[in-house]
């Protein structure tokens, strides 16, 4: 199992960043494509 996971663990940073960038693009493109994009809420701590 450890042997199987080794390549994933060795490239964990690249894999996680690719995963994150992929989903950022999906959500951004979806927001751009829909006529009423979901409103991005303001940062919670803005007015504290």
């Amino acid at each position: 199992m450890r042997k199987l996971l080794k390549p994933v663990l060795d490239h964990w940073k690249t894999i996680s960043l690719t995963f994150e960038i992929f989903w950022i693009l999906v959500f951004t493109l979806e927001a751009a494509a829909t006529s009423s994009p979901p409103e991005v809420s303001q940062f919670v701590y803005t007015y504290f």
Partner: protein, 424 residues
């Protein structure tokens, strides 16, 4: 004067608008390529911070003057306090420091609390949160100003100058909501030659920004619709499970939103060549509420420990009653600090209750940890050292925080409904 008058129609929300990212790239290029001289870089950053703050729709030129005005007063006080001994009468120094801290606290209180605005000016008719004056980032730069005044009083501020101080107060990546940096570290980094660190700064800064964007634009979008604060169904009509799920979703939304913002602020600052302190360290994996607060909004927690908790404890330690009761002293200090945190979040009673709730929680953990060490039973000791005990600790801490969130997110009327729903 509105920002649009100054900057045409150019305005944006930090970390959410494409134009902000374009502006950030320009600032990074200017900061990295143009001046190799730290002083020129400091001037450049001060000008860029001011211009970028004016681009925020809720921040006007008048607001910038207010920030500069407060910074001028606090700089003046800190500057006099940092003079060598003998120049300024030793007896007057504590009074000057107290004046500086109270002036900043007064400034903060005016912009934070509607009842103070009502007291100073005539109470507004149909007052609501939108009627009151507010100033973006007021808590964060006020905390920084207090920090410098207190540290100047203690004589622990190195390299104190106006350019660094104004940069420290108005540094745009951390202006809206922190992280709250420390003056000495900030000054050291601002004056350092950053030519040798470009590659690592760009790599680490960009990575942090991606993490932050993922949290804000993906995870927040997933959890926000289910959070207790954004559900259309009235609380009275929700089942206990729906309420509980709403609280879970709210906790995750809050975490991803704030830690996402912090990642982007830390990443943006790193791209410019400034390292900001961390704000989160896996808070939902902590084994007790004391550890939780050491890993949630860490820059504020450490500020509170240094500038609220320790001053209270040091003062009370002078009393014989507390000197012989160190546990009680720590409990009183902790509770007073958390009441202050609750009051900082807002003037409503639910925020104070939230502060008391966490103060009592941390005090209980302190007492429990002391009692735990006294238990001699080997079986119980084995359990304390086991993985099971850690898992139980993590789950209990998470749920303690979740129930506290109800106090944080709901007003007294909604809390009453919630407790009656949970009770029956």
């Amino acid at each position: 004067m509105s920002p649009t008058t100054v900057l045409g129609s150019w305005s944006f929300v930090f970390y959410s608008s494409v134009s902000f990212w374009i502006a950030l790239i320009v600032v990074i290029l200017l900061a990295r390529l143009l001046p190799s001289n730290p002083r020129a870089r400091s001037w450049l950053l001060l000008v860029c911070s001011s211009v970028l703050l004016l681009a925020i729709p809720q921040f006007s030129l008048g607001d910038l003057f207010l920030v500069w005005g407060m910074a001028t007063v606090s700089f003046g006080v800190s500057h006099i306090l940092s003079w060598p001994k003998g120049v300024w009468s030793e007896g007057l120094r504590p009074w000057l420091a107290a004046f500086g801290v109270l002036a900043v606290l007064g400034f903060l209180a005016v912009f934070k609390y509607g009842f103070i605005q009502d007291f100073l000016w005539a109470p507004r008719e149909h007052a609501s949160s939108t009627n009151y004056l507010s100033l973006l980032g007021v808590s964060y730069f006020s905390f920084k100003a207090i920090q410098v005044i207190v540290d100047s009083f203690k004589g622990s501020v190195a390299r104190f100058d106006a350019l660094t101080y104004f940069n420290f107060i108005t540094f745009f990546p951390a202006f809206i909501s922190g992280p709250i940096s420390r003056y000495n570290q900030f000054a050291e980094q601002l004056s350092a030659d950053k030519r040798g660190t470009i590659r690592v700064d760009l790599k680490l800064g960009a990575e942090r920004i991606v993490h932050g964007l993922f949290k804000k634009f993906v995870l927040v979008q997933l959890f926000f619709p289910y959070a207790i604060v954004s559900q259309a169904t009235p609380l009275a009509q929700q089942s206990t499970w729906q309420i509980l799920l709403g609280l879970y979703a709210y906790a995750l939304y809050l975490y991803f939103d704030f830690s996402g913002y912090s990642d982007m602020a830390i990443g943006a600052a790193r791209l410019i060549g400034i390292e900001l302190p961390e704000n989160f360290n896996w808070p939902f994996l902590q084994k007790n509420i004391r550890e939780f607060w050491g890993s949630w909004h860490m820059s504020l927690t450490s500020w509170l420990v240094d500038y609220v908790y320790w001053p209270i404890v040091r003062k009370l330690r002078n009393l014989q009653y507390f000197r012989v009761r160190p546990v009680l002293l720590s409990i009183v200090g902790m509770n007073a600090t958390f009441v202050a945190v609750g009051a900082w979040h807002g003037e409503a009673l639910n925020f104070i209750l939230w502060g008391v709730y966490h103060g009592i929680g941390i005090s209980a953990v302190n007492v429990y940890q002391r009692q735990k060490r006294r238990i001699r039973n080997k079986r119980v000791q084995r359990y304390f050292a086991s993985r099971m005990s850690q898992v139980v600790g993590i789950i209990s801490t998470f749920h303690f925080f979740i129930f506290g969130l109800a106090l944080f997110a709901l007003n007294m009327e909604k809390l009453r409904i919630l407790f009656s729903r949970l009770a029956g």
